[in-house]
Chain length 261, copies 4
Amino acid sequence: MIDKRKVNLNADMGEGFGAYDIGDDDAMLEHVTSANVACGFHGGDPNVMDRVIRRAVERGVSIGAHPGFNDLWGFGRRQIYMSPAEIETMTAYQIGALQGMATAAGTRVTHIKPHGALNNMASIDRSLADAISRACKAVDPEIIMLATTGSELLNAAMAIDLPTASEVFADRTYDDQGNLTSRKLPNAMIRDAAEARAHALHMIEHGEVISTSGKAVKVLAHSICVHGDEPTGPGVAKAVREGLEAAGIDVVPLPDVPLDH
Amino acid sequence: MIDKRKVNLNADMGEGFGAYDIGDDDAMLEHVTSANVACGFHGGDPNVMDRVIRRAVERGVSIGAHPGFNDLWGFGRRQIYMSPAEIETMTAYQIGALQGMATAAGTRVTHIKPHGALNNMASIDRSLADAISRACKAVDPEIIMLATTGSELLNAAMAIDLPTASEVFADRTYDDQGNLTSRKLPNAMIRDAAEARAHALHMIEHGEVISTSGKAVKVLAHSICVHGDEPTGPGVAKAVREGLEAAGIDVVPLPDVPLDH
Amino acid sequence: MIDKRKVNLNADMGEGFGAYDIGDDDAMLEHVTSANVACGFHGGDPNVMDRVIRRAVERGVSIGAHPGFNDLWGFGRRQIYMSPAEIETMTAYQIGALQGMATAAGTRVTHIKPHGALNNMASIDRSLADAISRACKAVDPEIIMLATTGSELLNAAMAIDLPTASEVFADRTYDDQGNLTSRKLPNAMIRDAAEARAHALHMIEHGEVISTSGKAVKVLAHSICVHGDEPTGPGVAKAVREGLEAAGIDVVPLPDVPLDH
Amino acid sequence: MIDKRKVNLNADMGEGFGAYDIGDDDAMLEHVTSANVACGFHGGDPNVMDRVIRRAVERGVSIGAHPGFNDLWGFGRRQIYMSPAEIETMTAYQIGALQGMATAAGTRVTHIKPHGALNNMASIDRSLADAISRACKAVDPEIIMLATTGSELLNAAMAIDLPTASEVFADRTYDDQGNLTSRKLPNAMIRDAAEARAHALHMIEHGEVISTSGKAVKVLAHSICVHGDEPTGPGVAKAVREGLEAAGIDVVPLPDVPLDH
């Protein structure tokens, strides 16, 4: 007899700044089991971070660092060219800042998932992926790298023995190579809750994703991501979680997922 | 037979930003035994912080957080009115950021000393002093608060049992009440190395400072501060250290000073 | 036979930043006749400013500069202590930036109204009021200062012969001295559209405001302000405009209001 | 009989920020005839800008906008990927800000020269070059675009009939294609004043530059640039100016140079 399968449900959070809000963090925290918390560079500020961390603690949601480029104007979505050494210090700074605030709130930072352009660049540029991974290892060798299967970021983290978790997206479609469909295409996002639930459940139960052309492509999923900055985010998160639980799958904080590859 | 007296010598550091420099950190690190490292808000960035931390480690200099207002334009010297709750999260964030980078460099943050307007305001406003102290206690209850004797900041830290160190200034003059002479007065700064050495030595050996009017005022000094942003800073630091050592006083990192009051 | 009375209806706009939005600028621009456009310091960025300016031009809405403290985190609502000389250059910079963008869009900046804490401080501190007025005069001696009757800002502008417009608030209550009721009190804001319409109409038709205690206090109103950052803002603006027009009052851009005092 | 040849001497200035300084603006202003003034994005703030503008006015030095990426941390030297529309509004904003401050100081902005990575990217990417040129044209159709011969930026400006000035560098070496030698090479900079003087004089008198391999390459020079952020900057600027004047060439503000191509 084997254990019930365990999977994580994550979302980006705490991306407001000062008087500005993005997404409904409280609604998302009702459904996800891990929160990727912005660290004050592309979004977030100490007040916002504190609020999200404390709410996550109340709800048993695990906390991860969501570091980004220091570009509030571009919300961390603009590519900025910095040296790997600079990426490394910038990452260590952001993880540390969140760790300090997590400690103050009586919890710990257990994973990291880079944001936006930093994540995209590190997915394909090994030197940036290595820099981010080195920062993680140096700040906390137990921290879990949450990244896409096959990305250079996941490879880099594995190469230095960081724990790694592979993620899939409940609300994004995939192409025949198993890559995310470009956001420029109209069918990139899945905003229908029932569709997202079926999409996510298929990936978890069958270890494969059905591409937009109908092809089955193998995927590995320790965690499922939903986007909180979409108005449909909380509804999608709720449906995905309910779908998984109805199928007998435990939806748990990231550190409770067996991270076998 | 009693132990040789131990005292600390501290300076603010890492206050450059990007392409900009202020002060000669490397020269100061030749002489001081503790570095108050800017945390990226009023000055400093992850690259600058990393460089200072690693150099400090090489030289056996202890590291402290030097948090300030988020005001690079005003170099943290402008009073900004924020709520105590905001001061608290802002302080936790900055300590955490430096801790992350210190861990990455194989060392620890052992003290805190707020910067500029934040320090001035917290010296006289107990609600801000309490907020800063709460942040310190929550992030690291062992962290040493470095502040001026009689300041509300020192009082607030003591009230919640944080370790506290009282500091005096080798390069600043004092009035008859034991307060620093206003920087608006021409005799506020002591830039002559021999004079600063004598000034500091008198405070350590006699537990009193001679005011500008010639009066002796009691002071308690676990640590002596010198200003690195003055061109005369490294010379003053060198003279003060040599003067203390010639008098048989050990000049040590802050955690090695007995913090009795 | 006299001319129909003319009055202006203004609101703060363009206070979003990057991916962040505050208020519904498009909805407000349906109703107001002047827009106070944030200039990138407390809110706003070149993209947001450009969008608001062009939309205002399309709708015949006049443009004013809405300069604030360089404090996006605090949304310009935190008091920051800067010298009058610094306030002066900061104001000139922000007016100029908006002028550049207005010129690019084929229009002109015809008024100024400082934002948040800067406005509050300049209302009571004559040295700041003088600094802001000097900047206006030096950048454009024809620019209209939009401020509250009796404020030091209005006095300072008058003293150097800037055109001045006195404003009242359709959605704020007043005390017996004619000052705005503190926002800390529950009755500070008027969010009911009909009530705001009656409040505004009374001020325009009778030259007096009825205070929260029922007392009539004289007011001078060239312009009526409504707050766009309240969800009720567009509804209030619509009601106030309709009420004024139904009473035979022309609601016009600020430069078309006779600025007699 | 023909007029004495006229040429301009320009340098980047006002790149300090708050308490931070870069370069010796006052020393450079003794020698150059046009100042490219940072506009607060990659460097510069309203106080610094005001100081440089007023000093330039005193010395008869013409003023140009020196817009850059909004990246103080990277000093505008990091490539940031923004859309052409965003580059356009960002440029209009920065020119306008400087215009406002120039007007306040009784002068005008007569040219523009983008900074760092923005300049480098616009030199080779026509869509960015077009965006910057459109902003210039919309804000002031008389503004002179100062750029390198053959760059897309110069081409783009010419294509919409902006006045254009071609610049060469007194303190940089060139390769056989007439491009600047990479800064990564040891011989990229000319820091010897006599050498820079000879280098500049040859370009002006012969309309050609001698490359590092000894080849003569045609160049067009309405303006000669010297770098003020090098410690040797003021000495180089002085030598170049003296060399030109000794050769009977007038060194004049940019608007006084005949801009024939």
